[in-house]
């Protein structure tokens, strides 16, 4: 049985003439404990897809199910890590996490709560900055704080919306390892959105490309059959890895070319007009 599934879901915004179908006929099955990466160009509706999975928006048609039950509203069991961090700016890092923990685990005692929060802060290396307000943090630190908040909710499924986009290469690698470690330690289901092929190959069990919107849909998945744990230093030599990387990249490039062909502007006939002042001298002009 699939853990999280989309059945013919489509999403459109606007109404009447300006109605735009962003996502159409999405079918997705995520198994329990699976790591799925969704890869696509920017503007293809990845974040909309993530909001859909989180339950922040509901599909116009089709359905989204978690453990067989239709999703009707967002909830902490689907822990969403937002692309733009969404930390509450008037609370410190610690308080931001506390707000979530307090809500998800109301039965925790004071000490349990504190230990829980500190555990996750330590995991993302933010202990020294726990008293800082979000505007005092760098982009990477904000992203890590957001990750810690999401993880601290102990969600059944992690929804990561480009979680590493604002990080420098080094921190990025660190957090990638961190996410993989967490995923392996207490096996959780993860859906991650990314635009980085290497990242997807390194982390995911399956890579699903999202076609270019509007009316974007999910294409056939690439299965990444490389055993976990994967080592970023040696994986480059892996034959499977190389082949998959070529395939995925080619697929994306072709998709881009096709999209460009589709979007080619048809010839718009121009009226045969010449500006007035070229035909008449200035002095003859009257207004």
């Amino acid at each position: 049985m699939s853990f999280l599934s989309l059945e013919n879901a489509s999403v459109s915004f606007g109404a009447g003439n300006s109605k735009i179908k962003i996502l159409s006929d999405l079918n997705l099955e995520v198994k329990e404990n699976e790591f799925v990466a969704i890869i696509g160009f920017s503007g293809s509706g990845k974040s909309t897809l993530m909001s859909l999975l989180a339950g922040l928006i509901l599909p116009n048609s089709g359905s989204i199910k978690m453990k067989g039950k239709t999703v009707k509203e967002p909830g902490p069991e689907r822990g969403m890590m937002f692309q733009n961090y969404s930390l509450l700016p008037w609370l410190s890092v610690y308080q931001n996490i506390e707000l979530a923990v307090h809500q998800v685990f109301p039965h925790f005692s004071k000490i349990e709560k504190e230990n829980h929060i500190l555990h996750y802060l330590e995991m993302v290396n933010l202990l020294p900055a726990k008293g800082k307000k979000p505007h005092e943090l760098s982009g990477g630190m904000k992203q890590r704080a957001s990750l810690a908040r999401t993880l601290a909710m102990k969600p059944e499924i992690l929804l990561l919306d480009e979680p590493l986009s604002a990080l420098d290469a080094l921190t990025r690698a660190n957090i990638q390892d961190e996410i993989m470690r967490i995923w392996q330690e207490d096996k959780r289901t993860v859906v991650m959105i990314t635009n980085d092929v290497d990242e997807a190959l390194l982390m995911a069990d399956r890579i699903i490309p999202l076609t270019i919107g509007p009316e974007a849909t999910l294409n056939d998945p690439f299965i990444v059959d490389i055993d976990h744990p994967r080592d970023r230093t040696t994986i480059n030599a892996n034959r499977n890895y190389k082949k998959l990387k070529v395939n995925v990249t080619n697929f994306l490039i072709n998709m881009n070319l096709e999209a460009k062909k589709l979007n080619l502007n048809p010839h718009i006939p121009m009226p045969e007009l010449t500006p007035d002042h070229l035909n008449h001298s200035r002095s003859n002009r009257t207004f």
Binding site: L56, F82, N84, S86, L99, H135
Partner: protein, 543 residues
Amino acid sequence: MSEKRSDQIKYSILKFLDVTGFTVLDPVIRLIFREETDKQCKAIGKFLVVPILFLFFCLTMWWKIAPQHKTKSGEVPTPDKVWNSAKINHTFDYRETTKSEDFIARSESRKEILKQVQAQIVSIRSEAEQAKNQVLLMEEKFKNDFLPSKLEVPNTNLSNYLTEVNILSNRRKEELNVLKAEVMNGKTTKKEFVHFLEEQDKLVDQEKKILKELRSVISEIRSQKFKPLEKARSVYNNLANELQFLKKREEFLTKSNRSVRVQEANDKLQLSIEDLELATTEKDIYLRAKKVIRQKESIARLEGQQYASAVTVYKQIKRSIFTVLCGFLMAAIIAIPLGIMCGLNKVVMACLTPFISVFKPVSPVVWLLIFQIIVGAFFPDPETHPFFLFFSSIPYIGSLNINPALVFSACTVAICAVWPALVNTALGVSSIDKDHINVARVLRLGFKDRLFKIIIPSSLPYVFAGLRISLGVGWMVLIAAEALSSSDGLGKFVWDEYQNGSSYSFANIIYACFVVGIIGFCLDRIMIVLQRIVSFDGGTTSV
């Protein structure tokens, strides 16, 4: 280590300046701590010295231009006169407070103060005596030396001209007589005679004009101020005032003193009680017992008596600030919940929009009149109304004389101040970041948590920006309302001065203008600090 400590002090001072909005002083602090002295000196030159020079320039312009404009209330006062009126107001307040303290002084401390006051009276009296002599001396000098020396030339000019005129007019008379005879003879035509008369009239007019000019020169000199005399007079006046004040103090420390009067009344009571003991007839007992009761009552009244102090400008300031804070508080209590409701619910917003749009532009004057009528109807007998009795019983606030005028002034302030706060709060709540709402949705926060943990904190900067505007509007409205309704406060002070028309009135009005401005500035600064404290993005607030 010590250097680090001084750095800490420096940064905490700089932070304080930043929060309070006095960033102008930033380079001064840095200069004191010897940080990049060249740069700081340049910054001080640009942003501190130049503005101060400009300020002095403006003051000088004021000084020069003001006396040239003569008004019904005298010349426009120069800065020194305004400063002087500030000093006078200050002394007035000091004297009133001293007198009220003297009034309630008792036993040993009363005697001690009395001794001091009496010593002061003796010394001031001799000083005043000297000053009076000085004035007389100067008057003498003015009459005997100053005036004659200045008047000598014009006086001789005048007398010379007068004799000249005399001679000329005599000569003309003779000519006239001659011509009259000639006309009779027919030697001169009548036409020529008319011409001659016209010429004569012209000459007489001219002479009159010159005479008038000469006389005006003299009267101008006479009205000139003799500086030493003026100075002596003002010294004497000050001393005389001081003396009068001290005499008044003496009075309040002796026969008008509360404890003294209570003592006297007690003595009388004692006598009456003795009388009562001696009374034999039924009628006498009744009457004397009544007298004892009356005297006891009057003693009780005496003991509760306070000095009826005149209303000084400081009292007006206190009352105005209290009123504006009351009105502001009312506005905040109404505006914030309503604003939150408006921001949360479009239906509420739609319901309130017509009211906001129509009532926001209504002039404070109209509101004042409306509230004056409404509040008046609520308290038909304010002296005994429990509402006012309650306020009078509160220690500090009681002394501010809470009355219906204060209530309707505060209501006027509230209704005018409510709109900016309301609109800003609604804007703050409705423009809350969608991501923050999403966080609340993912966490499944209940309505209460959502309101208090997400919506209110996120809209607080807007709310405080609105409150800051509200307080500014409220302060402006209040002064106008007080002036119009003669409700005690700074506005009334200004209005009274305007009606007074004494020689200090105009200076007092300008003094009040500065006081109002400075208090408004302080209130605004307090709001800025609050706003900076609740703003979470570390951004700056416009000053």
